[in-house]
C-alpha cells in the first residue's frame, strides 16, 4: 500500500485493512457511509467485454449491445434501485487504456472525475484477464472503491482456462465476482458486492514515475503478467472448436471470400427479396391500398364533403416466398374492390369557397401527394419492412463477430481510399441508415478518417430505404445494368476516397483491430437491438417524410414546382437527358434521396412510364450519389462542424449531376438510346 499518493481514502475506510473477496460488515456508521458511495456506480471496462449487458441486467434498460469494439459511443445513464438505495448507473465507452488521448478515454476520465463519490465497477472479459488487469491497475491509481466483475465465465470455461478468483481478490484487495451476464447469472452477487467495494491494495505506479504513456503502460503490463501468473491457468483444448475454425475461415484470403459471398447472398435474399419484395407487397398492397387508404379516404370524405366520386378498382395482393430474383413460390393471393386516391369531379368552377378549402385539405391528407396516402404508406409500407429486415441481418452479423473479420478482409481495399479496414463497419451500417452510420464513424481514431468515411457514406452508400426503391427500379433493367451500377458506384467511391485522402492532410489511423471470437448471436439481444435501431429510425424518419410530402404538396399547389422545373430544365433535360417531369424527384431528393427515388420509380414503372432504360440508369446513378437526407446533413454538422457539412453539400450535389451527366453522354455516344 505504498503509492496511492494521488488520492486520499474515502472517509471511514481503513487503509490498513487488507481487502478480501467477501464483504466484511464493519461498524454501522462506516457501512452507511460506504453504502452512500454506492449511490453512483460507474461501469468501466475494455471494449467488447459485456459492460452494456451488465448495465442492462443491473438496470433493466435497453442499451445497444454488439459484438464489436466501440458500440457505446455515448454515456448511458440509468436510475435504479440497488440494495434499497437509489442509484445512478453510468455505462462508459469501452477503453483499453484510461490514459489514452482518445475521445472515449477522455469521456470516461471526465465521468469518473465528475463523480468523486462513485463506486467503480470494472467489467472484464474473464478470458482476457491480462488486458483487464492493465485497466485495473490504472483504476487503482485513481484511488477509488472498485469491484472487479469477471464476465463471460462460460466462455472461459469452454476455452479450458481457469481463474483463481479468491486469490485474485486477495492480490487486488477488492471483491471479484464471476458472471455470465448474457444469462443474467452472477448479477445479484455484483449488487451484493457493491457495498464492500474498496480501494485496491496494490503496488501502483507512482505519480512521480514519469515517462511516456507507453512506458508507464509497459510497467503496468509487467505487473499484470505477474498477477496473471499467480491466478490464471490456461489449458489449450487439443482440437480447435468449430467456431474457432469458422472464425479463421472468415479471414482467410480465399475461404474468407467464399464466406463473404455466402453472407452477401443471404443478406440479399432476406433483405432484397423477402423484405423488399414479399413484405413490402403485403404491407403496401394488403394493408395500405386494400384497407388503410380506402378507410382514410372515406373518413376524409365524410369530414370534408365536396362533390366528387372515387372510382372503385380491383387491387390484387400476391404474397409470395421468393427463391431467386426470377422464381417465387406463391403462398396466397386476394383481390379486393377498393377506392383509390384518384377521383372524378364535375367542374371546379361550381365549388364554393368552403368546398374548395375542404378539397385542399382532402388532397393534402389523402390525395396523390397526401400525408396519409403517400408519406405514411411509403414510410410504413415500403421503408419499414426493408429497414427492419436489414437491421435484423446487421444485428445478427455484428453479434456473431463477423464484422471485424470483414474489416480484416477489406483492409487493403480501404487503404487505397486512405482509410483503414475499420471504416468498413460504418459503411456496412450505412447500408441500413447513413445517418446512424455517420454517428458510428467515431470508432475511427483520426478526424481525417472520420470525415472521409462520412463523405463516402453520404455520397456513395445507399441506405436500405433507397436500396429498396433502387431494387424496384433495377427490375426494369437487365441484370448487366445492375452489375454495372454496383461497379460504377464502388468505382466512384474508391476514386473519391483516393482523391480525398490525397487532399486531406494527416495520417491514416493505424489498423490495429481486436478480433472477437465468433459467437452464436443471442436471439433476445438481436431482437432488442433491432427494435432499438428501428425506434430511433422511425422517430427520425417519419416526421421527415411528412414534412417532405407537405413541402411537395405546397410546391405543387403554388405552381412553384413548374417555376423550378423551368430553372432546372437545362441541367436535367439537357445534361442528364431526362424528361422535365423528373425535376421534382431531384428536388425532393435534396431532402431525402430515397423519397426522390420513389418519384423516379413512379416515372420508370407503371402504364404511363416515361423513362427509357438509359434514362432509368442515369437517374438511378444521379440519385444514388445524392446526399442521403437532411438528417444526415445535420448529423455531419454535429459530428464534424458546420463548415465540413457545407463543403460536403457543395461537393456532393454537383458531383452527382456531373457523374450522372457523364453516364448519360457516354451512354448516348455508345448508342444506348
Amino acid at each position: 500500500m505504498k503509492s496511492l499518493s494521488s488520492a486520499g481514502f474515502p472517509e471511514g475506510q481503513n487503509p490498513d485493512t487488507p481487502g478480501t473477496g467477501s464483504a466484511s460488515p464493519g461498524p454501522e456508521t462506516i457501512k452507511e457511509k460506504i453504502d452512500a458511495a454506492t449511490r453512483t456506480v460507474i461501469l468501466v471496462g475494455n471494449p467488447n467485454v459485456g459492460k452494456s449487458v451488465v448495465f442492462k441486467s443491473l438496470t433493466g434498460h435497453h442499451v445497444t449491445i454488439s459484438n464489436y469494439p466501440g458500440t457505446t459511443v455515448e454515456i448511458t445513464r440509468a436510475r435504479t434501485r440497488l440494495n434499497n438505495h437509489k442509484a445512478d448507473l453510468y455505462d462508459t465507452p469501452g477503453i483499453n487504456d484510461l490514459a489514452q488521448q482518445s475521445e472515449d478515454a477522455e469521456v470516461t476520465r471526465d465521468i469518473i472525475s465528475a463523480h468523486p463519490d462513485a463506486t467503480l465497477v470494472q467489467v472484464a472479459d474473464a478470458k482476457n484477464l491480462r488486458r483487464a488487469l492493465l485497466l485495473t491497475l490504472q483504476l487503482a491509481e485513481l484511488g477509488r472503491p472498485l469491484v472487479l466483475v469477471l464476465n463471460m465465465m462460460d466462455e472461459l470455461k469452454k476455452s479450458g482456462a481457469r481463474i483463481d478468483v479468491e486469490r485474485l481478490s486477495e492480490i487486488l484487495g477488492i471483491p471479484v465476482i464471476g458472471t455470465i451476464a448474457t444469462q443474467n447469472s452472477g448479477i445479484d452477487n455484483v449488487v451484493q458486492a457493491l457495498p464492500s467495494a474498496r480501494l485496491p491494495s496494490l503496488d501502483c505506479l507512482n505519480e512521480d514515475e514519469v515517462g511516456e504513456d507507453f512506458e508507464r503502460n509497459f510497467v503496468r503490463m509487467v505487473r499484470a503478467n505477474e498477477i496473471l501468473a499467480e491466478t490464471y491457468v490456461l489449458k489449450q483444448p487439443r482440437k480447435p472448436r468449430f467456431s474457432v475454425r469458422l472464425g479463421f475461415w472468415c479471414m482467410h484470403p480465399v475461404k474468407g471470400l467464399i464466406v463473404l459471398g455466402l453472407v452477401l447472398v443471404g443478406v440479399f435474399w432476406f433483405v432484397g427479396l423477402f423484405g423488399a419484395g414479399s413484405l413490402v407487397d403485403a404491407l403496401e398492397v394488403g394493408l395500405f391500398q386494400q384497407r388503410m387508404n380506402p378507410l382514410a379516404i372515406r373518413a376524409a370524405d365524410a369530414v370534408l364533403p365536396f362533390p366528387h366520386a372515387h372510382p372503385v378498382e380491383p387491387v390484387q395482393l400476391d404474397f409470395v416466398l421468393p427463391v431467386t430474383p426470377a422464381h417465387e413460390i406463391s403462398i396466397f393471393s386476394s383481390t379486393r374492390e377498393v377506392i383509390g386516391t384518384a377521383y372524378v369531379m364535375e367542374s371546379d368552377a361550381s365549388l364554393k369557397w368552403h368546398q374548395k378549402a375542404a378539397r385542399l385539405i382532402h388532397d393534402f391528407l389523402v390525395g396523390e401527394y397526401g400525408v396519409i396516402t403517400m408519406a405514411l404508406s411509403y414510410s410504413l409500407a415500403i421503408v419499414l419492412p426493408i429497414v427492419t429486415t436489414f437491421f435484423l441481418m446487421f444485428s445478427l452479423l455484428e453479434d456473431s463477430g463477423y464484422l471485424p473479420r470483414l474489416s480484416i478482409m477489406v483492409n487493403r481495399l480501404f487503404r487505397v481510399m486512405g482509410l483503414s479496414g475499420k471504416a468498413v463497419l460504418p459503411m456496412v451500417l450505412g447500408l441500413g441508415c447513413d445517418t446512424m452510420a455517420t454517428m458510428t464513424t467515431r470508432i475511427l481514431e483520426t478526424r481525417r478518417d472520420r470525415i472521409i468515411t462520412s463523405l463516402l457514406l453520404a455520397l456513395a452508400i445507399p441506405c436500405s430505404a433507397q436500396l429498396g426503391v433502387l431494387l424496384a427500379m433495377m427490375a426494369q433493367l437487365s441484370a448487366l445494368a445492375a452489375v454495372f451500377w454496383v461497379v460504377l458506384i464502388i468505382g466512384v467511391m474508391v476514386m473519391v476516397g483516393w482523391l480525398s485522402s490525397k487532399v486531406f492532410p494527416g495520417e491514416r489511423s493505424d489498423f490495429i483491430l481486436e478480433v472477437p471470437p465468433i459467437r452464436a448471436p443471442q436471439l433476445g439481444n438481436v431482437v432488442a437491438k433491432t427494435v432499438g435501431r428501428l425506434e430511433w429510425y422511425l422517430k427520425e424518419v417519419i416526421p421527415l417524410f411528412v414534412l417532405g410530402t407537405a413541402i411537395l404538396f405546397v410546391l405543387d399547389r403554388t405552381h412553384a414546382l413548374k417555376l423550378i422545373a423551368v430553372a432546372g430544365r437545362p441541367l436535367v433535360t439537357g445534361w442528364l437527358g431526362l424528361p422535365a417531369e423528373t425535376i421534382n424527384a431531384f428536388l425532393i431528393g435534396f431532402m431525402r434521396r430515397d423519397f426522390g427515388a420513389v418519384y423516379l420509380l413512379d416515372a420508370a414503372t407503371g402504364p404511363d412510364a416515361i423513362l427509357s432504360p438509359l434514362q432509368i440508369f442515369v437517374s438511378m446513378v444521379t440519385i444514388t450519389l445524392f446526399m442521403p437526407c437532411i438528417a444526415n446533413l445535420f448529423m455531419i454538422a454535429k459530428e464534424h462542424g458546420k463548415r465540413i457539412a457545407l463543403y460536403m453539400t457543395l461537393f456532393i450535389f454537383p458531383f452527382a449531376f456531373l457523374v450522372g451527366g457523364i453516364v448519360n453522354q457516354v451512354g448516348r455516344a455508345l448508342g444506348f438510346e
Binding site: D97, N128, L234, F248, H252, P253, I408, M409, F511
Partner: protein, 148 residues
C-alpha cells in the same frame, strides 16, 4: 537457372535427389522430342521435369516462403518476415509513433511476451495471450520478434 549449371531434381515417389542428366529415359521412347518427363534412376518413376511456367504456377499456390529463408532460433527479425503459424517472442517495438506503441502495449505486446502469427493475408493477424489482433503490414514491419 543458368545454363550449364547442374539441375537437381527430386523424385516425387522415392525422394531421391538426382541430376537432370542422370535421368534413365529409355531410348526410342515414342513420346519424341517434346517429352519433358524424367525417370528416377532409383525407382524408375516417371514424372514431368519442372518447367519455368510450371514453377511459376506452383509458386502461386505454394505456402509463401518470404525471401525463401527459414529463421534460426535467436535471430531477431520483423514480424512480417515470419510465416503464418510461426510462434515468436517479442523483442521490441520499432520506431512507430508513441501512440501506436502504446496501443500495442495495451493489447499485451511487451518485450518477452509470446505471440503466434495466425495469418498474413489479407491482413496480419497475431494472437497474443488471449487477444487476436488484426494488423497492417506497415505495423507488422515495426514489430521485432525472435522466432521460437
Amino acid at each position: 537457372m543458368t545454363k550449364g549449371a547442374p539441375e537437381y531434381l527430386q523424385c516425387s515417389l522415392c525422394g531421391l535427389e538426382f541430376e537432370k542428366t542422370d535421368t534413365v529415359c529409355a531410348h526410342g521412347c515414342p513420346m519424341g522430342l517434346s517429352c519433358n518427363h524424367v525417370r528416377c534412376p532409383n525407382c524408375n518413376f516417371e514424372f514431368p521435369a519442372p518447367s519455368q511456367t510450371g514453377r511459376w504456377f506452383g509458386k502461386m499456390f505454394r505456402r509463401r516462403h518470404r525471401h525463401g529463408q527459414r529463421h534460426q532460433n535467436g535471430e531477431t527479425v520483423t514480424l512480417d518476415r515470419l510465416r503464418s503459424g510461426d510462434r515468436c517472442t517479442l523483442q521490441r517495438l520499432g520506431c512507430g509513433s508513441n501512440g501506436r506503441k502504446n496501443t500495442l502495449t495495451v493489447f499485451g505486446m511487451i518485450p518477452g511476451s509470446e505471440m503466434t502469427l495466425l495469418q498474413r493475408h489479407p491482413s496480419y493477424v497475431v494472437r497474443i495471450g488471449e487477444t487476436e489482433l488484426g494488423l497492417d503490414e506497415e505495423i507488422a514491419r515495426e514489430i521485432y520478434v525472435k522466432p521460437i
